[in-house]
Each structure stands twice: as structure tokens, then as C-alpha cells.
């Protein structure tokens, strides 16, 4: 489908999936504070092999803060982050990012294709402009997100779901091996959500790792391989089947009733009663 993806050296793919290879992502003792008040405490986990990882927790639990801190977008009080065994700063070309949709001004004078092209800027480096190769890649990424024909629209003219997919297309154009996505399903309809999950699963099947901040508990069990429960502290991390339990979720969300009802539904969906 994507020529440049197919051209990725095969030994690299093997290396990244090999057990002896360094973990995809290793977060060690990460603590973040706003004005001396800690919002994340001693977060410690490692993603050892390519997976679709969900980050779940109540509002204000620090989910977005966690991925921003991992990416170095916020000052951290302590902790280290390693990607493929090296400090993240040295592996930025292999790390993709989908920020929250609200983080940009959608009135900005820019067209869809120009936004997607920004995914190629990292590889281009200083001073070099995108050329036909990059444009072709960007168009492929748009097509993969089902946005053909919209490339010369001003971004403000798109629907919320389309804007979200533009951000995903830009991340695809980064051709990264590890992706961080901040609520990519926020405000999209069911069909779009399905399409997005499909692309995420494809990325995982290509040997990439996708870490997703997610808020809808119902879709968690069938979509994510690994699950990270967070509420200022790391509650649990591991395979979804081990972590997505009533006990641990109650521990994450506290005793909030509405959430627990949602949780009951989710557990039913995730584990059909025998």
C-alpha cells in the first residue's frame, strides 16, 4: 500500500520485534509537577514489543500529561524515557505524535495537504523544502485516512472527524515506529472511530507501537493489546485481559457510579458470559 513503508529494511523490522532487542519504550520513575504540586508520580513501565497500548483513567488523571511528559513537551521533575534503548531526544525521527485537536487554531491559513506535509519535515531536516516525493507520500497518507479530494481545502472547512483524520494522516507521513496519540477518537462518529482503529491495528501489524490516550472504556477490551491504568499514579500496566478487571478499574476510577455502570457494560462486551 505505502511504498516507502514497504521499503523499510527488513532487518530493522526484525530487530524491533526481537526479544533481545531493547524495549520499544521504557519509562522510568517519571514525575511531573505543576507549581510544586505533583500531577504524576513515579510512573514506571516498559513496552517490550510492538503493541496497541491504551492509556485509560478518569478526567484529570494525567493521561495527556503523561504522553506530553514522555515526549518532552513538559518539564519533568524526575525520570527518564528511552525509546529503542536510546534517549527519546535522539530517536525523534522514529516517534510520531497526534496532539489533541483543540491544540491548534483551525482558522490558520493552511490547506490540508500542507498540514500532512509537516509529517515529513523531521526527515527533511533544516532548510530543505518538501518536494514531489513528499507530496506523493502525503497524498498516500490522506488516501489511507479516507480524505481523498480534500487536499486543497482550508483546514477550518473540515468536520471534526476529518480534522482528526488529517492529524492522523500527518502522523502516518512521519513514518515512525512508535506513535503517541492524544484522544484521537474524541468527537468522531462511530464509522470514523472504526476506520481509525483499523489503521491503528494495521500499524501494529506492521511492527509499530501505538500508545493511545483513550476515554471510552467500552471499546477498550476488543481494541487494545496492552492497557495502562493511570490516576496520578500508575495503577496497572499489562495485557488488556489481565488489567481490564473490575477490581483494577474501580481502583483507577474510585467509586464513581456512572463510570462503574459503564464498566459493567464494558466487561460484558469484553468477556461474553459462558
Amino acid at each position: 500500500m505505502n511504498q516507502s513503508l514497504a521499503e523499510m529494511p527488513t532487518e530493522m523490522k526484525h530487530k524491533r520485534t526481537d526479544i533481545t532487542a531493547p524495549p520499544v519504550l521504557e519509562v522510568h520513575d517519571l514525575t511531573v509537577a505543576y507549581r510544586e504540586k505533583p500531577v504524576l508520580w513515579h510512573i514506571d513501565f516498559a513496552v517490550t514489543k510492538p503493541a496497541l497500548v491504551g492509556i485509560v483513567g478518569p478526567n484529570g488523571a494525567g493521561k495527556s500529561t503523561l504522553i506530553k511528559a514522555i515526549l518532552g513537551l513538559l518539564p519533568v521533575s524526575s525520570g527518564t524515557v528511552e525509546v529503542f534503548g536510546r534517549p527519546l531526544k535522539k530517536e525523534r525521527l522514529h516517534v510520531g505524535y497526534v496532539p489533541q485537536r483543540e491544540s491548534v487554531d483551525w482558522d490558520f491559513p493552511i490547506q490540508v495537504l500542507d498540514v500532512v506535509l509537516m509529517g515529513t519535515y523531521g526527515r527533511l531536516g533544516w532548510f530543505r523544502r518538501p518536494r514531489e516525493t513528499e507530496r506523493k507520500l502525503a497524498r498516500e497518507c490522506l488516501a489511507r485516512m479516507g480524505l481523498e479530494g480534500l487536499e486543497s481545502r482550508q483546514i477550518g472547512q473540515l468536520s471534526g472527524g476529518q480534522q482528526q483524520r488529517v492529524f492522523l494522516a500527518r502522523a502516518l507521513a512521519q513514518q515512525a515506529d512508535l506513535y503517541f496519540m492524544d484522544e484521537p477518537m474524541a468527537g468522531v462518529d462511530a464509522a470514523t472511530e472504526h476506520a481509525i482503529f483499523q489503521v491503528l491495528a494495521e500499524l501494529r501489524d506492521q511492527g509499530k507501537t501505538v500508545v493511545v490516550v483513550h476515554h471510552d472504556l467500552r471499546s477498550v477490551p476488543e481494541k487494545f493489546d496492552q492497557l495502562l491504568l493511570v490516576n496520578q499514579r500508575l495503577i496497572a500496566y499489562g495485557p488488556t485481559s489481565d488489567v481490564f478487571t473490575a477490581d483494577l478499574l474501580r481502583k483507577t476510577y474510585g467509586g464513581r457510579l456512572a463510570i462503574l455502570e459503564e464498566l459493567a457494560v464494558a466487561l460484558k462486551v469484553g468477556r461474553p458470559t459462558p
Partner: protein
Amino acid sequence: MLNELIRYNTLVILAGTGLLGLVSGVVGTLTVLRRRALAGDALAHATLPGLCLAFLIVGERRLPALLLGAAITGLFGLFCVSVLARGTRIKDDSALALVLGVFFGAGIVLSRWIQNRTTDGSKAGLDSFLLGKTSGMILSDVLLIAAVSAIVLFLVVLLFKEFQITLFDSSFAQATGWPTASLDLLLMLLVGLVVVAGLPSVGVVLMTSLLVIPAAAARFWTDRFVNMTCISAIIGMLATVTGVILSTLFEDLPTGSLMTLAAAIVFVFSAFLAPCRGWIWRNNRRKAFAKSLDISK
């Protein structure tokens, strides 16, 4: 009158200020999109004490020295804004207003003191920096302004892609390894250079309008950053050239005010007449839509 216009000196001034207008249109687009329009204003007003101090030190009206002094206090003013906004509970806009007022006030006091002190106060000519005056300019002044403008233009063209990603989505830019803080700082330095280069012809008081109005007008004509920058550059050049020509024809009028008015005319024209985004076009479309609803009833 015509002879006056085609005099060699006037042509040189036209070329120099034209380049200045072009560059302020370009840099203005970046600042407007970065929502830093007021930073340019604070910086411009904060240059006045620097102009005066430089005059006191050098003792005569030498443009390079005056502009250097202007650049120093201008950037120091912006530094104060960022210290106030970060280190205290004062918000950005209040910090800008505070610095603008205090520095400008100090500048006015200094310039009046200089004029009262020296027997021939007008020799300092510091008043011409308030609203801009091109008639007294000499060739070397114009060349200096043109050189500064050319450097700024070169840097923006070179770093256009880097500025685009930082302006549109600075967290994505940062996550992909671009030094957004440094690029932000560079942008402010470029604004500083343009403001300082514009002081003699546009003046302290209205310099910011030459940064903001062309960019605001350009937004009506396009949905692309590149195009907006180019259109804004053209409008900026149009404004400065018109201002200089008019001030040549009517001796007493300050060039800065004439340039601002010229830019404002283009803005009003754009706001009404631009296709798709102009007021007339949008109003027609609204009416047509309302009519289509009526018919379907």
C-alpha cells in the same frame, strides 16, 4: 513637483522604504499568526529611550548609533515583558501595556530634556522618529535600512518551513524535534530588526500598524500561509511607497501616518471586496441562501 519625485535621492529613498515595507509585511504575517501583534508595538515604543540615550552618548545625529541604541532598549523592553509575564501573576497583555507605557514615557521625557538642554534642540531631530520623516534621509541611511531588511528577508525565506510548523502547531513541532523556543526568539529578533529599520521612515508610534495591517488585509485574499505572506509583502510595499510619495508632495505631513493610512485603505478595500472572505461576497451568499430557503417553502 514631478522633478522632485524623480530626483535621485527620492528614488533611493523609495527603493529603500519599499524594501522595508515588503519585509514588514512578511514579518508582520508571522507575528500576527503567532498572536504577537502587540509585542511589536511594545518593542517599537521601547526603542525611544534607546534612541535618546544613543544620541546623548554619541553627541550627534548618527543613524547607525541611534538605531543600535533603539535596538538595545527595544529588546530589553520585550525581555521585561517576558520576565513580568512569567515571573509574576501579571498577564501577557498587561505586561505589554505596562512596558510600552513606561518605556515610551521615559523616551519622551529624555527627548524633551535633550531638546531643552542643547541650544539648537532641533539638531537632534529626535521628534522625527515619532511619526517618521524621509525627507532628511541621506544615501547611507537608506542603504543601512535596505541592508537590515535584506538580512531579515533572507532569514525568513531560509527558515520558512520551520516557521510554518512552529506557528501552526508548536507542540507537534517540538515533538518532532524543532527548537520552537529558539525559533520564537528568532522571530522576535526579526521583529526587532524590522522595527528598528522602520524607525526613521515610519516612526515609533505607528510602526506596529505597518506590521499588522498588511497581514490582516492579506488574510482576506487567501487560505495559504505562503500566499498570505507574499500578498502582505506587496501591500506593505505599496503602503510605504505611497507614504513616501505623498510626503514628498506635501512637505509637512509625517510619512509614518501616510503609510498607515495607505495600508488602512487597502485593508478596507480587502475586507469588503475580496472574493470568498470579503464582506460583500459573504453577504450576497447569505442572501442567496435565505432566498433559496424561501423558494423551497
